[in-house]
Symmetry: C2
Subunit: 197 residues, 2 copies
């Protein structure tokens, strides 16, 4: 390679999700040839985020503060806690729904083979919330995958032990989706979960 520093930059960019050797090279050249100020802005933003962004001590959402804005907001319904696998799920729910309760972010799902158990998902923290008497309903919004379902089932047991009721968000044929294009697993799930009219 003609430049050790360009090579090292391309390597570092390849660590980003969805970035292969080709697009990493294009990004590196773009910054160095045409957008050095954009590159400097990225250095500043990334340094600041790495230094300042941690986890909310209550819900494990990415947060600039010890307790995040949602957990601090007294107008959110304190009796509702929605459990999701990732911060991106919180973003999606906040943007698409009128949900006004609180969250708990697992940052993963139970996966014993990968060494991810209750401790790694912060379930001690969730249990202490379930134990303090403010939570009325735990809404399980883990992904409809084998691991997500197993995690939801484990959480149901914990909630039951604390006398807290649980619910699972509905899964089925997407609104606007055409039956013939929906995958078999979803369709089968939609039949099992049919509602009497």
């Amino acid at each position: 390679m003609f430049s050790r520093h360009v090579e090292s930059l391309i390597e570092a960019l390849k660590a980003l999700p969805g970035v292969g050797p080709r697009s990493a090279q294009r990004m590196a050249f773009h910054i160095l040839e045409r957008d050095r100020s954009g590159g400097e802005q990225l250095v500043r933003s990334l340094s600041a985020a790495l230094e300042k962004v941690g986890q909310c001590g209550r819900c494990r959402m990415l947060s600039d503060d010890d307790i995040c804005g949602i957990c601090r907001n007294p107008r959110r319904e304190q009796g509702l806690v929605c459990v999701v696998e990732s911060p991106a799920d919180v973003m999606a729910i906040e943007q698409a729904t009128a949900y006004q309760g609180l969250y708990f972010v697992l940052l993963g799902h139970l996966s014993p083979l990968d060494g991810i158990g209750p401790e790694e998902l912060g379930l001690d923290l969730l249990e202490s919330r379930l134990g303090d008497g403010t939570v009325e309903e735990l809404i399980l919004a883990t992904n409809p995958t084998v691991e997500g379902e197993a995690t939801a089932s484990y959480l149901t047991d914990i909630a039951r032990a604390h006398g807290v009721r649980t619910s699972r968000i509905a899964h089925g044929v997407p609104i606007g989706g055409e039956l013939e294009y929906v995958d078999g697993g979803t369709l089968s799930h939609a039949f099992q979960g049919r509602i009497q009219l």
Copy 2:
């Protein structure tokens, strides 16, 4: 948004080519949730590249040093100079061909409407090389676009004024390409450029 620092990181990532709002968010979450050391490596590599990588004073290639490794290499054929539009073109030629001459990188093409004239492309630097008597052939490898062709034609005039011969790399149907899938412009070009057997 739940975190000012995450928001600013997503904005900065969106400045990279090919990165939209969705993939910028996925990248930011990936770094902050799962790969902080990768994020720190990116800060280090990007800072170093922005500080250390400049242009070669002879061929305008991105380079860590005042004169790049290719220009400094006495075993390259000093009489051949290949003119390309971008550093990525140099990379592609070095990887795919046995070319052993030198380069000149325009970092663009003539585009009067965008205020890009001979000065912006470093043509004074190229002319001083053409004037010193070492260059025997200028190989024009600008892109086969209207602007690339106009730039090649302008370079031919400059070279002629210095008594240096020019050549244009061949354009036509790609090797392994099937005629019926080649675009009309390329096919027409291939007919005009046909070689007597």
